[in-house]
Symmetry: C2
Subunit: 338 residues, 2 copies
DNA sequence: TTGTAAGCGTTATCAT
DNA sequence: ATGATAACGCTTACAA
């Protein structure tokens, strides 16, 4: 069954040596055209396939990169992976994927497993609950290029690809102000994560720049799900001074908020505007489509892959590159008054 | 920098031989507790990491599987991959992913690349445009387990994990009939693909069973996108005998249809019911949530992984397993009259 | 209990 | 232009 043809089989069949076969296969100049042709033909005939494992062991390069994300079935992450794969596959790289489930322990496991697998690089988005940094140093010490995308930690020698979350928050908030909203609330994820902190800061700055005050009651930190969006609105409804718009750092929160606003009979966008973040597919499919900040995940994946390639090109030169992509606000019905 | 510790380094440090180190590391019984402890300690101290590549080359097993899908950022597929990863990772397997972009040529490339990488198995969903089967035989001839999920070809020796598309079509159509719909149309993808053919057949059978006739004008074969849904409705509107429901073999088609029905002022579900297929995330988020047939992709991934594991357990026994999962109809507003 | 040595499939450095 | 051989890091008979 398992007919594995090696260069030795070809060599034997041709009464030459494996070295010659290898040379023929790798179009090494030191070989006659005649034998080269012969080798190529018999190789095809015997259905020879190069064993990349042996090559990897020999060369020390596996032509494989590891990608670590919290969950692979989240659109944002799978789109990034798509971007990475499409950039790297044509160059002969394989992409191994791991999920952390947002757990630090699993993240550490993943990294170790990938190092064991001798990957040529690790591209990852840091888990929400990661506090230690030892495992990253570990990677660097082994000389394996490490690239963070979206969620990063500040570590010397590690390149990052992120979007400008501050700008995203600023642009979204500015847009709401321009729609005539005066009391703009903010729903955010855990602000110990940089991305949420920056979105919040962008929001604050926009309010400031346009002479609006930040109302503490209007800033809510919560989980990234629909139910949390409901709860946030319930809370707002009890306020004397209710908001008339929300900039949400998550589309799911935004969706939950919209659902609950409707339940309270509030008209969107006439009485209340909402902008989300991430441009999840569903935001544009809704009848009341939701404005959202797009993070161009595929481009982020492409870019992360390119940064990795630069890194690997000059392994002697230590490159630390910080690429910041611009987010794009997608204006839809949930915030279009004009 | 690149401090790669091997068992030889440990051996040297301890004045013993690499074989002994290996034994200690693999808790081989033939070793004294003393040296074993010593080895383990120094291994930890020297930060030893086993090189899986060397192991793979030696053992002939890479502990890696390849997964091939059309696009990784389609929710259905990324969920399957999640299911595969979660089943296989705890057993020490890595998952390499490839995208075909629905092209046969790329599919063949992917398979060859994975074989070169010495994967222990290939789990895949066949590309829409695949007509040749040689590359699959190729895999089998190498003795590499092959498992198809969702989109399959009938090949001897290949296990498959699918859902019962006939049942999905039947259940959805029956549900529409029970809602009182009398003129149920069907939007389908390319029926040269088994999955769409079976959904169509389930639809037909349900109509038959309940004494309804199939109206040829009500069966449309088209692309799986929103625009095609619009067009289908436009066509239906010109008919004398208009349908009063749609069973669509795609959620995107269903969404397009709903959008266009609304444009025509038709009330859903009162005047017209719609059921889609795949249970895309957006279907349940819509204000007018869309009924859909769920394919339980994570379970499908889990199952595909398990089937692979059985295959690999007894590599001498040729197992050909056909697992068919039951689809679950999710009834939502777009078809809830009661 | 430990050491020796072969082998997994390549490529690269020598010779020839 | 080709052959012989070592090396990549590991496991595993076989010997001691």
């Amino acid at each position: 069954m398992s007919e594995k043809t090696t260069i030795y089989d070809i060599a034997k069949a041709l009464n030459i040596t494996a070295a010659t076969v290898s040379r023929a296969l790798n179009n090494n100049p030191k070989i006659s055209q005649a034998t080269k042709k012969l080798v190529l033909e018999t190789a095809a005939k015997m259905n020879y396939k190069q064993n990349k494992l042996a090559l990897a062991l020999k060369s020390g390069r596996s032509n494989t990169v590891g990608v670590i994300v919290p969950y692979i079935d989240r659109n944002f992450f799978s789109s990034i992976i798509r971007g990475i794969e499409e950039e790297l596959y044509p160059l002969g790289y394989h992409v191994i994927i791991c999920q952390t489930h947002e757990e630090e322990g699993t993240e550490i496991d993943n990294i170790n497993a990938l190092l064991n697998a001798q990957v040529d690089g690790i591209l990852m988005s840091v888990s929400k609950h990661t506090t230690q940094l030892d495992h990253f140093d570990h990677v660097l010490k082994k000389g394996v290029p490490l690239v963070f995308f979206d969620r990063k930690k500040d570590i010397k020698g590690v390149s990052t690809v992120t979007i400008d979350d501050f700008e995203g928050g600023y642009t979204a908030t500015k847009h709401l102000i321009e729609q005539g909203c005066k009391r703009i609330a903010h729903l955010s994820g855990d602000r110990s994560l940089e991305i949420y902190k920056h979105r919040y800061e962008g929001y604050k700055k926009a309010l400031e720049d346009f002479g609006l005050k930040v109302n503490k009651d209007h800033v809510v930190q919560c989980k990234n799900d629909i139910a949390a969006g409901h709860k946030a609105i319930d809370k707002f409804m009890k306020l004397d001074h209710r908001p008339d718009a929300i900039f949400s750092s998550s589309d799911f929160l935004a969706l939950g908020a919209i659902q609950q606003l409707k339940k309270n009979g509030i008209k969107i966008p006439e009485e209340f505007c909402v902008v989300g973040f991430s441009n999840e597919p569903f935001t544009k499919f809704m009848e009341l489509s939701i404005s959202s900040v797009d993070q161009s995940p595929v481009l982020m994946g492409n870019t992360a892959a390119k940064v990795f390639l630069e890194q690997v090109k000059d392994s002697n030169v230590k490159i630390e590159k910080k690429v910041v992509l611009s987010p794009k606000l997608k204006i839809r019905k949930s915030s279009s008054r004009s």
